[in-house]
């Protein structure tokens, strides 16, 4: 087995076997369960039609994926450094870039596991409504882009910070900054500044894509621009990760 594949396998094992990795899946399941129960028990939410409920659920899923990406990414190098395992890894023929890429694949796999966990919830909430089948690939695509972006950024940060706590603080701040314009009121978002922010913000791009497909039933042609923005951000993040991890100090 090649050095790189050994690293990938170790990351996957750590995800599923170590408590630190597997607890995130359980928490994600509980969050989705809590939201599902809220959908049927809360008066206001119970009036939502299936499309809106599915849209809200998809929003939660992509944000959970992004959050897991930030947490796992921040732990990538800084956590290994704190636990004293980074030096041992760096003493092997594995390069720090190998390590970064393996961790990124591990995080992407976590996202795929989360996606699989989420699918039954989506079915339960939206199977009698509209656009559920077309929702699935868009959710997967937008979620993957967001996870790539935040995981790469967090891993890059983690390679430069001394502690997991510092890396996580910055990563969560970035996530909040990216997510916060989405909660602006509709009138603000309709302004020219709001539209520009929506265009350049990857989180807004993902949520607008989901809105457009699930609620407005718009086709692929309407999603080209936001998906292109997401792809651009993903490529930039990957490039930054690759460059920054060429040399990692202990």
């Amino acid at each position: 087995m090649s050095t790189f594949m050994s690293l990938v396998r170790k990351e996957i094992s750590e995800d599923l076997t170590a408590t630190r990795g597997s607890i995130l899946f359980l928490i994600a399941g509980m969050v989705l369960s809590a939201f599902s129960v809220l959908l049927v028990s809360n008066t206001e939410l119970s009036l939502l039609d299936n499309a809106q409920a599915v849209y809200m659920m998809c929003g939660i899923i992509v944000m959970l994926g992004s959050l897991i990406a930030v947490i796992r990414g921040s732990d990538g190098f800084a956590g290994e450094r704190e636990r004293g395992t980074l030096e041992s890894l760096m003493l092997t023929p594995a390069t720090t870039q190998n390590l970064a890429h393996a961790k990124l694949i591990g995080i992407l796999l976590s996202w795929m596991i989360l996606f699989c966990i989420s699918t039954p919830y989506l079915w339960a909430v939206g199977s009698t409504g509209q656009n559920l089948l077309s929702t699935i690939p868009y959710l997967f695509t937008t979620g993957t882009f967001l996870v790539l972006i935040f995981a790469s950024a967090s891993l890059a940060l983690s390679s430069k910070t001394r502690t997991f706590k510092s890396a996580l603080s910055v990563g969560l701040t970035l996530l909040l900054l990216a997510g916060s314009p989405v909660v602006l009121g509709p009138s603000l978002r309709q302004s020219s500044v709001g539209r520009l922010m929506d265009l350049v913000n990857p989180v807004a791009g993902a949520l607008n894509t989901l809105d457009s497909t699930i609620i407005d039933s718009q086709g692929l042609i309407f999603q080209v621009l936001p998906l292109a923005v997401l792809l651009g951000y993903s490529l930039i993040s990957l490039f930054i990760l690759h460059s920054v991890t060429r040399r990692v100090e202990l």
Binding site: T17, F25, L32, D49, I117
Partner: protein, 182 residues
Amino acid sequence: MKWHSFHVALIFAITAGILLACESASMAAQSPSVEISLERPTGTMKMGDTPVFVGTVKNIGRQPLKGLVVYLSLVSLKSGDEHPVDLEDWSAQKAVRIDQLLPGETNTQKWGMRLIQSGKYGIALTAVDPQRKQPIVSDLMSFEISPKPTLSSSRILPVAIGEPLLILLLLGVVRISRIRTA
């Protein structure tokens, strides 16, 4: 002097005329000074929709009207269970007061409404002029709110409860198998 039938008839006619004139004056005093109408929202109406009802009030009298109060009334027309509906949960818009409506002036008001329950309903717009005894009511507009498929707890609850347990079970199985093959 002899009362001829002509004289009787004349007195009778004058009396009737006076009475009629009084009646007419009274009626003239009570005739509507406003004309109100309610527009049906466009599109189908189903549960969860938020249509906007547009009501117009026009002063058709010769005097300006002050302090007009205009409000919507909603009634369920379900056969055998007709009853008024409290608009508290349906609409944030309460009664509207129009300070002044000049002769010939038209005032338009909008009532946004959230259709929270399916069924057959009637809605009417009422205008109250403090100077008059009779409120003016528009024609009753009946409409049907169609139901929509909402969330089914019978599907959601098993998933919400079962899936975290399944995740726990799967993680446990993975851990145990890892330990055994280590």
